[in-house]
């Protein structure tokens, strides 16, 4: 009995110390990891969606609190007015887990600026086809006021045969982004103008 207690104690202690040191390293590095993610993963996607250099857009980051948790947004300003928005969501139901996508929306014309896949773990060669232009370009110029749907559901999107789960996850993510956009459009505008005026006032930094 004593021996078992010792085994449990030692192993428990080692696990505890490991967890502690991991948490410490994580708190030190998480900011930097997030920044690197912004630069190398989100940056290229933002450049394509909003047609501005990544470094200019990455500073325009906004975290919107929704009932389903925080959502990351990036926005583009044209002469002080918010003109473009990139909404990042997690499309549920992918074959290899959630698919992280970014949807670009033009805030003036309410048209979609495009779709970018940020992160996925779909099967290479099958589900990974969601990354291809042929699939993603179907999002271009759709109206942000209508739901994005597959053709079989009365929409305009051609799914990828053999990759139903992946296609659906991307559609789910787009729907989520669109509903965030349509439900909190005014709130987003308000936040952006607050951020913008804070930028111009050096005292507020």
């Amino acid at each position: 009995m004593r021996e078992i207690a010792k085994l449990v104690l030692v192993l428990g202690l080692i696990c505890g110390i490991s967890a502690g040191s991991l948490a410490t390293v994580r708190t030190y590095l998480s900011d930097r990891i997030e920044k690197q993610n912004d630069l190398f993963v989100r940056g290229p996607a933002l450049e394509l969606l909003l047609q501005q250099p990544a470094l200019a857009i990455l500073g325009n980051k906004l975290i919107l609190d929704t009932p389903d948790g925080p959502v990351t947004l990036f926005y583009k300003l044209d002469s002080g007015q918010a003109s473009g928005l990139a909404i990042e969501t997690n499309g549920k139901g992918g074959y290899g887990g959630d698919i992280s996508i970014m949807l670009g929306v033009d805030m003036v014309s309410d048209k979609l600026l495009g779709l970018e896949i940020i992160k996925h773990q779909e099967t290479p060669g099958v589900g990974s086809q969601i990354e291809k232009g042929v699939f993603r370009n179907q999002w271009l110029n759709l109206s942000a006021n209508d739901p994005v749907c597959l053709k079989t559901d009365g929409g305009t999107i051609d799914g990828i045969s053999g990759a139903t789960y992946s296609t659906n996850a991307v559609i789910n993510g787009s729907q989520e982004a669109l509903s965030i956009f349509n439900n909190s459009k005014d709130r987003i505008r308000e936040l952006i103008s607050q951020m913008d005026s804070a930028d111009q006032n050096p005292l507020s930094n």
Binding site: K6, L7, I14, S18, V25, R26, Q36, F40
Partner: protein, 204 residues
């Protein structure tokens, strides 16, 4: 030769991984499509190896025999996750390239092998030196395999163009079969060299 020196140099020829130990072949085959990846993988393993040897040697009288493997795995896994986070924070491109093979260092036989064979019965300093030696040996081997494959398969070395514009790369070297052939050739050459020097060739 003093104990220290023999521990310091054994990882470079006598126990050179992956060739002489024939352990840790999975990363040696999978991530050596370029010299850069090989070097990054080697250094990651070296980091884990030094600190796992150090920690395990430090705790060798505390860890009960029955749960030693579990304890080693916990220690190694912790170090690997730390390496993963450091790579993501400072070498993002490399961490994307190495992908799943960084987490897989946890089950790398070299690390568990050194823990069991050396660190669990030797003092702290010597164990750290052993980790350094074997780790650097592994780094050199991976960089060598990576260099050969990159130069022949892509005509570049560490991303710099080496061959002229007329060079036709034989692309199969940077694919999976090239890895097996390159590793096998090197292994054969090393065994031939050992035999010529009259060393005991390990019969695999």
């Amino acid at each position: 030769m003093s104990r220290f020196l023999s521990v310091l140099i054994h990882g470079f020829w006598k126990d050179l991984p992956p060739f002489r130990l024939v352990l840790g072949l999975c990363p040696a085959l999978a991530v050596t499509a370029s010299a850069n990846n090989g070097l990054g993988m080697g250094l990651s393993v070296t980091f884990v190896l030094i600190f796992s040897n150090l920690t395990i040697s430090l705790l060798r009288n505390v860890i009960p025999d029955k749960v030693r493997i579990a304890s080693y795995i916990v220690i190694i896994a912790t170090l690997v996750v730390i390496v993963e986070m450091i790579l993501q924070a400072y070498f993002f491109g490399l961490s994307q390239q190495l992908g799943i093979y960084i987490p897989l260092i946890v089950v790398n036989c070299i690390i568990l092998g050194r823990a069991e064979a050396f660190a669990s019965r030797n003092p702290v300093f010597l164990s750290a030196v052993d980790g350094l030696s074997v780790g650097l040996g592994f780094t050199l081997s991976l960089t060598l395999v990576g260099s050969i494959r990159e130069i022949l398969g892509a005509g570049t070395w560490f991303g710099n163009s080496l061959m002229g514009a007329d060079f036709q790369p034989f692309a199969f070297m940077i694919r999976a079969p090239g890895a097996f052939i390159c590793l096998g050739m090197l292994l054969g050459l090393m065994n031939a060299f050992s035999r010529w020097r009259g060393e005991n060739v390990i019969q695999n």
